[in-house]
């Protein structure tokens, strides 16, 4: 029996990726406990919907993490773009509430913020975690200026209503937007020259430099994409809520980071894929949804998320030679064999 399992490629792929394993276990467990309601098409759509915002942000932040940086400004960009879009539409000043212009301004702000981060981070070697920690505060400062600390309620805009409320073929629009972003990130990372350069620079910046890869430009574009995706997520969030507020999307960067890490993208850069990062987000979404359906009191949810992340990352570490866990596993297998 064991050799059938061992050399069957599908099984091997599943066994090797610890995350899919954890996911499978969770899905089976939740389905059993909720007597099937978990494993329904409607619930799957709900999970995708609950994960859509984080998913869009991941499609941006993933580029920065693959290059070894951690971009905490996804939330700041989201809040700023949402506020700008709402203000432009509501005030109707510029171009009479013209939606297209509002969106351009909002996404433009995200791109500008990404450009500034990219310039600083590609020129100086500052830990991205620390720089974006400070700049996120600055972005939220600007959001307060734009919204002058009030809640902007936008109810007249058909496009935002469509994105925020309507469904197409039973699936909410933000899910489609997320899927488009994932496709975009997947194509860029796996099928374009830029994607190859991201993995090369993330793995070894000096060897890429000597191979003629424009490393500074690669880093700059990564943060522009990250800024753009943050802004897009902000626009979708404002559409969902039909409002923009100064405290919007707060602390989303922790969820984005947790998902990317659970997805097996290494913090040192160079390894990990967008599919796995999204899988990480989906995994966390499944946990939250499963616990909701089981009626698990809210107070246990945070703890469960923390433990799941530790388990998922520890399983990864066990596959890397040299770590005590790896040696322990090796000794364990030897004893078992």
């Amino acid at each position: 029996m064991s050799n059938i399992v061992k050399n069957n490629p599908v099984v091997k792929a599943i066994l090797s990726s610890s995350r899919i394993l954890v996911l499978l276990v969770l899905v089976i467990f939740f389905t059993a406990v909720t007597k099937g309601t978990f494993f329904s098409y409607k619930n799957l759509v709900n999970i995708l919907y609950s994960v859509s915002l984080i998913g869009i942000m991941i499609c941006g932040a993933c580029f920065a993490v693959l290059l070894g940086g951690i971009d905490r400004t996804v939330s700041g960009n989201a809040a700023l773009s949402g506020a700008i879009v709402a203000m432009t539409i509501l005030r109707g000043g510029v171009g009479g509430g013209n939606v297209a212009l509002a969106i351009c301004l909002g996404l433009g702000a995200g791109i500008l913020s990404g450009l500034i981060h990219g310039l600083i981070l590609s020129r100086f070697n500052i830990p991205a975690f620390l720089l974006t920690l400070a700049t996120n505060e600055i972005l939220y400062g600007f959001v307060q200026l734009v919204t002058s600390n009030t809640l902007i309620y936008v109810n007249g805009c058909t496009l935002m209503d469509y994105i925020g409320q309507k469904r197409w073929l039973g699936i909410p629009i933000p899910v489609y937007i997320m899927l488009v972003c994932i496709l975009f990130a997947y194509i860029i990372l796996n099928h374009t020259v830029y994607g190859r350069q991201v993995y090369s620079v993330g793995g070894n910046r000096q060897s890429s430099e000597l191979s003629g890869v424009p490393t500074r430009r690669v880093i700059l574009i990564a943060y522009i994409i990250s800024g753009f995706m943050g802004a897009l997520a902000g626009f979708v969030l404002s559409s969902m809520n039909q409002q923009a507020s100064a405290g919007q999307a707060k602390n989303y960067e922790n969820n984005v980071l947790a998902a990317i890490v659970v997805g097996g993208v290494s913090m040192r850069g160079g390894s990990g894929s967008i599919q796995n990062a999204i899988l990480g987000a989906f995994l966390i979404g499944v946990i939250e949804n499963g616990m909701n359906l089981m009626g698990v009191p809210a107070i246990y949810k945070d703890m469960a998320k923390g433990i799941i992340i530790i388990v998922a990352v520890a399983m990864d570490m066990a596959t890397q030679p040299g770590t005590p866990l790896y040696n322990f596993m090796k000794r364990f297998k030897k004893k078992a064999a």
């Binding site: 500052i126 505060e137 200026l145 600390n149 890490v261 469960a304």
Partner: protein, 338 residues
């Protein structure tokens, strides 16, 4: 000129900045340089400063500790829980809180050193676990909702109190713990090992220093600081709620890096962190004085921190270029001589 150590110079820069900010704020508003304002500003340094001490120890080993604030919140909740639901004596409660903090510190150490999960990710998740424990231990009212409870205890409220002329006990504790930690870092064997492990792990391990032991000690120091911080937190506010301390970790990390600690490890010490905390509070307190809206405050303090980071990175680059150039010129001079 003997080439100055990197963080010595960084500390001088932050010290100069503190003095500059101090003078600017003192001159431009008359409400800044009052004794009351000074003591209240030094009081604000207290709890975040004590946490920063523990976090600096973790950063020097080349790691980080994002769970310090949430651990403090957990220790507060352990105290509130025992105080509310049991009639233990104050000493017993404080003892149990200390043990809880040390266990949490050991858990951090285990996740980082044994499971080898990168510090950043590990402490992010252990922070969530501590948050969960805080929720579970929270005090409930008759309807079962989470509530917070006023701790009526003369000893505890004294901790939040101040000396007759105004300096708060928490400020004194902050300075005392800083000095103790500085002595520990500079004068003890384990202190040297913490620096060695952060600066060059391979060479430290070759000299027989165990990575797991050093990491465990660093996280236990951080746990102890969270414990002390928790006592003074309860002393000051007389109560706690479920997200007490959740924002403190990031503030403490920024303070210790501004004070000279470097994420790459092996750099920084407690005096630098003390200055970093002072810098943050002078900035925060001063900016408040200008009737700026909170928007302007966060923008200005954010920009000041970014400028400092950029200057620091530029300075390091400049020094590196200078030393390689100097070496080349030395060879040149000698070569020309031949």
């Amino acid at each position: 000129m003997k080439q100055m150590r990197q963080e010595t110079l960084r500390r001088i820069i932050s010290l100069v900045l503190v003095v500059v900010l101090f003078v600017v704020f003192a001159l431009s508003t008359d409400t800044f340089l009052t004794w009351d304002n000074m003591t209240s500003m030094l009081r604000e340094c207290g709890v975040v400063g004590i946490l920063a001490i523990g976090i600096t120890a973790c950063i020097i080993t080349g790691g980080n500790n994002l769970s310090a604030g949430l651990m403090m919140g957990m220790v507060c909740m352990v105290f509130a829980h025992l105080y509310h639901y049991t009639s233990m004596s104050l000493i017993m409660i404080i003892l149990i809180c200390l043990i809880a903090a040390l266990i949490a510190g050991a858990f951090n150490g285990f996740t980082v050193a044994v499971l080898q999960i990168p510090d950043f990710v590990a402490t992010l998740s252990t922070g969530m676990v501590f948050q969960g424990i805080t929720y579970i231990l929270a005090i409930r009212n008759q309807y079962g909702s989470i509530t917070s409870e006023l701790i009526q205890n003369p000893t505890m409220s004294m901790l939040g109190g101040r000396l007759p002329n105004g300096i708060y006990y928490v400020t004194i504790a902050w300075v005392v713990v800083s000095l103790i930690a500085q002595l520990f870092l500079k004068k003890t064997k384990m202190g040297t090992y913490i620096y060695a492990m952060g600066s060059n792990r391979k060479s430290a391990e070759y000299s027989g220093i165990s990575y797991i032991k050093v990491k465990m000690v660093a996280f236990l120091i951080s746990a102890l600081c969270s414990f002390i911080g928790a006592l003074f937190f309860l002393g000051r506010y007389g109560t706690n709620d479920v997200d007490s301390g959740s924002a403190l970790s990031l503030q403490a990390i920024s303070a210790s890096v501004i004070g000279g600690a470097a994420f790459s490890g092996g750099r920084g010490d407690m005096i630098g962190t003390l200055i970093g905390v002072l810098f943050m509070q002078v900035l925060r307190n001063g900016v408040l004085k200008f009737n700026m809206t909170t928007a302007q405050q966060s923008i200005i303090s954010g920009i000041i921190i970014v400028l400092m980071l950029v200057f620091d990175a530029y300075y390091n680059e400049f020094m590196q270029k200078r030393t390689t150039r100097a070496a080349a010129l030395a060879r040149e001079k000698e070569n020309a001589g031949k």
